[in-house]
């Protein structure tokens, strides 16, 4: 028996009762990103200034390619979750909030897909 008025219920006011999934996914991707980021940054720092051929050779290694794909997936997922809460906190106009959230979601998915595709096309041999 809810004491929420029917109008309040219809307008969607009150607790959403749903957010734990987001919170947990944010933590899981965060834990994954700790080692992946440290690996990526040190690898990048070690390869800075090298020419295209050397970088392609590094990216062609299967271990590097898989780790990089995992890194990109975790990164864009974590980024999307984080940006989502920022928008929900600061954008108060309902329509603008909805549009911004959709644009960010699609942008993150598109960027992740493009970046992962780039890594795979290098690693699988298309030069």
């Amino acid at each position: 028996m809810s004491i929420r008025s029917p109008l309040a219920r219809a307008r969607g006011l009150g607790s959403a009762k749903d957010g734990v999934g987001h919170w947990w996914a944010q933590r899981v991707t965060a834990v994954a990103l700790v080692p992946l980021t440290l690996w990526f940054v040190t690898s990048l720092a070690a390869h800075v200034g090298q020419d295209h051929t050397a970088v392609m050779a590094w990216l062609s290694s299967p271990v590097v390619a898989v780790a990089l794909v995992l890194y990109l997936a975790a990164l864009f997922y974590h980024s999307q979750l984080g940006l989502q809460v920022v928008v929900e906190d600061y954008v108060h106009s309902e329509s603008l909030k909805l549009v911004t959230l959709l644009v960010l979601q699609f942008a993150n998915i598109a960027l992740a897909a493009a970046a992962i595709f780039a890594v795979l096309s290098i690693a699988l041999g298309a030069q």
């Binding site: 965060a30 700790v34 980021t37 440290l38 295209h52 970088v55 980024s79 940006l83 920022v86 890594v119």
Partner: protein, 127 residues
């Protein structure tokens, strides 16, 4: 759709003195948003590498220019800050370190360690 109400809010930014806790917290959010922007650049770099030596050289040229180096420095600091403070957040999620003294000690540690890690990464890159 609910619109933002016109009711007055109690003042917060105009009233509370900045603390280490609040400053580190908003910096964590700001660094996260800044890193999300950087992830776009990362995707572009990988796509350029996959496209060929010409495109790769063009993107690397932007990174090597003074504004590219400034952005990379800012991005690398944001990364290590977000990483260190993120670990602090994960520790809080387990319930550890929530008392005020530990919060301040770990807070200062985050600032120091993030600077050291950034310096270390740039030393590796420039060596």
């Amino acid at each position: 759709m609910s619109q933002a109400s016109n009711r007055p809010l109690s003042p917060h930014l105009q009233v509370y003195r900045p603390q280490l806790t609040s400053i580190l917290s908003i910096t964590h959010r700001a660094s996260g948003v800044f890193l999300s922007l950087g992830s776009v650049a990362l995707a572009c770099w990988l796509i350029a590498a996959a496209m060929g030596a010409g495109e790769y050289a063009a993107v690397n040229g932007l990174a090597a220019a003074w504004y590219g180096q400034v952005l990379l420095a800012a991005w690398s600091y944001a990364l290590f800050y977000h990483l260190c403070n993120g670990i602090r957040h994960l520790a809080w999620d387990t319930g550890w370190g929530l008392d005020l003294r530990t919060t301040y000690v770990t807070g200062y540690a985050v600032v120091v360690v993030s600077v050291l890690l950034t310096a270390a990464a740039w030393l590796i890159a420039l060596a």
